[in-house]
Amino acid sequence: MKERKWISKTDGIVLGVLVLFAAGFLLWRAVAAQPGMRAVVTVDGEAVLQIDLQSAEDAQSYTLQNGVRLIAENHTVRFAASDCPDGICVETGALQKVGESAACVPNRTVVTVVGGEPRDVDVIAY
C-alpha cells in the first residue's frame, strides 16, 4: 500500500476552500454590518431582556436571574461577569454591530445585537 503523503493536492483544495469561505464571510461581515440598535438577551432560547443600544451612553449594568451580569455602554454591550468556569463570554468583549453575538454556554445565555426598530412598534405614522 502506498504511504500516505504529508500534504497532497487535495489537501490544498480543502484548505483553499475553507480559508476562502471563512475569510470571505468575515470580510463581508466587517464591511456590511450596521451599528446595532438593540441587544437581545436569551436564556434557554427565551428572550429575557432587550437593551436599547442607541440610547446606551453611560455604563448601565443588568443582572440576570442566573447571576450573569451585562454592561451596556457607549452603544455596545458585553458580558461583565459570569460564574462559568471558562469565562469565554466575558472574553468575547464588547458587541456593537448587527449579527455580533456572545454566548455563555454553561449559563445558557446569549446576547445578540440586532438592527431594525429600536423598540417593538408602538405607533405607526404615515
Binding site: 500534504i7 484548505l15 469561505f21 461581515r29 436569551t42 453575538s101 454566548a103
Partner: protein, 173 residues
C-alpha cells in the same frame, strides 16, 4: 493475546498524553486576535495517531477520556461539548484513514479539526437554544484550518518514531 495487551497499554499511554496536552493547553494565555475559547487542540494528536495506527476502539476511548477530563476540570458543559466534538472528529478521522487515498496528513488533520469545532458549535447552539452562536463559525473554521494543519504535520512527523517504538516493544514480548 500479547498484541491485545500491548494495544491496551498503548491506548492508555496515548490517553495520558492527550490529557496532559489538554492541561498544558489550558495554561496557555488566549491571544486577543483569536476567537474566544479557541484552543489549538494539541491533544487531537493522540486521537489522530490512534485513529491511524490502532483502530476505532482506542481512538474513541481517547475521545471519551478527554471528555471526562474536560467535565472534571471545566464542568459538565465543557465535557459535553468535548464529547460531541471529539466523537464526531474521531469518527471522521477513522473514516478518512480507512477509505480515503487522496488526502495527506494535513488534509485529515484539517477536516477533523473543523469537524471537532462544528460538533462543539452544534452542541452549544442546542444547549443555549439559539442559532446566533453560529456567528462564531467562520472564525472557528479559519482557526481549525491552522490548528489542523499543525496537528497533521506533527502527527506525520512523529509517526516513524512512534512506529519504531511500538515495533521494538512488540518484539520484546
Amino acid at each position: 493475546m500479547k498484541a491485545k495487551t500491548y494495544r491496551i497499554a498503548l491506548t492508555g499511554l496515548l490517553g495520558a498524553c492527550a490529557v496532559a496536552l489538554s492541561y498544558f493547553e489550558s495554561l496557555l494565555p488566549t491571544a486577543a486576535f483569536l476567537p474566544p475559547g479557541a484552543k489549538p487542540g494539541f491533544s487531537n494528536l493522540a486521537n489522530m495517531f490512534a485513529a491511524s495506527m490502532l483502530g476505532p476502539l482506542p481512538a474513541f476511548g481517547i475521545a471519551l477520556l478527554k471528555a471526562g477530563f474536560a467535565a472534571l476540570t471545566r464542568g459538565g458543559t465543557a465535557g459535553l461539548m468535548s464529547l460531541c466534538g471529539g466523537i464526531f472528529s474521531t469518527a471522521v478521522m477513522l473514516l478518512l484513514f480507512k477509505k480515503d487515498r487522496r488526502l495527506g496528513f494535513v488534509g485529515i488533520g484539517v477536516i477533523s479539526a473543523v469537524c471537532h469545532n462544528l460538533g462543539q458549535l452544534c452542541v452549544a447552539a442546542a444547549l443555549v437554544g439559539n442559532l446566533s452562536v453560529l456567528a462564531y463559525l467562520p472564525a472557528l473554521l479559519l482557526f481549525g484550518a491552522v490548528a489542523g494543519t499543525l496537528t497533521g504535520l506533527v502527527c506525520r512527523a512523529v509517526l516513524p518514531a512512534l512506529r519504531r517504538a511500538t515495533a521494538s516493544f512488540r518484539n520484546n514480548r
